[in-house]
Symmetry: C2
Subunit: 152 residues, 2 copies
């Protein structure tokens, strides 16, 4: 890595209360951090955010971009297995929060919303209990760290 | 590439009338083909589809995945420049059309829809004239092929 720029006012850089209001860190992978979204309308919805600030993937070197999408790919495989997903949805939007991050949403044929893009900011969110959240985070952390160890 | 599997009934594999009803090919890059979406609600909306069938990015080898996201990155840079975009949105959904493909949507602060995820399947689409479409495709083809030549 030649540089790891951070941006003032970006919650993915500052790890501030705004970020805490939306997500909880699960673990870090090679160049990214994985967060469990507080909205668990789709069980297992997570965010994978680059560990430094760029707005667009084309600002990365080839090696950085390869590492980032390897991290994303590891997360996708784990989500698929843990949540019995039929498909993973991925969204990179960032009009307002430009820091490179991927919303990852496990989708099941048997559940509402299958067949259409997930709603990024739903009107009401599904929050799970603190105990459920802690258990989900611990399960994902263990599997993500194992998967990352096997892969590198 | 060890294999290039195709799937019967998948329009990204079969290049059939269903595909023609949604998009027009612009050019091929290293492992993907770029299509102009018939819906040009957001000027420059395109699709980048892998040139063979997988459902999820984790089915690819590291080299295949790296090449795919390099293609995506090249397209993003060109869209940013041509359409004076403030942000590129990327969506990989595929609940019903599972073939790995990325919807890429240039967003502008001055236009409607900035600040929220683009609508993947809007109720009504904005179609441009055949002449406008041909011009847009020709412009993008030229710039994409130049960018790919510079990059490899």
């Amino acid at each position: 890595m030649t540089e790891m720029p951070m941006r003032v006012g970006c919650f993915y850089c500052e790890h501030n209360a705004e970020q805490d209001s939306k997500m909880t860190a699960i673990t870090s992978l090679s160049v990214s951090t994985v967060y469990l979204n507080h909205d668990q309308t789709y069980a297992g919805r997570v965010i994978v955010a680059l560990n430094w600030h760029v707005d667009e993937m084309f600002e990365l070197t080839d090696g950085q971009r390869n590492a980032f999408f390897k991290d994303v790919s590891i997360v996708a495989q784990v989500l698929m297995d843990v949540f019995w997903a039929d498909k993973i949805n991925y969204g990179i939007y960032g009009d307002l929060v430009s820091h490179l991050h991927v919303h990852m949403v496990p989708k099941k044929k048997s559940e509402a919303g299958f067949g259409e893009a997930f709603t990024n900011n739903p009107g009401s969110i599904k929050v799970i209990s603190p105990a459920q959240e802690a258990a989900r985070i611990e399960q994902l952390r263990k599997l993500l760290e194992e998967a990352a160890d096997e892969t590198f």
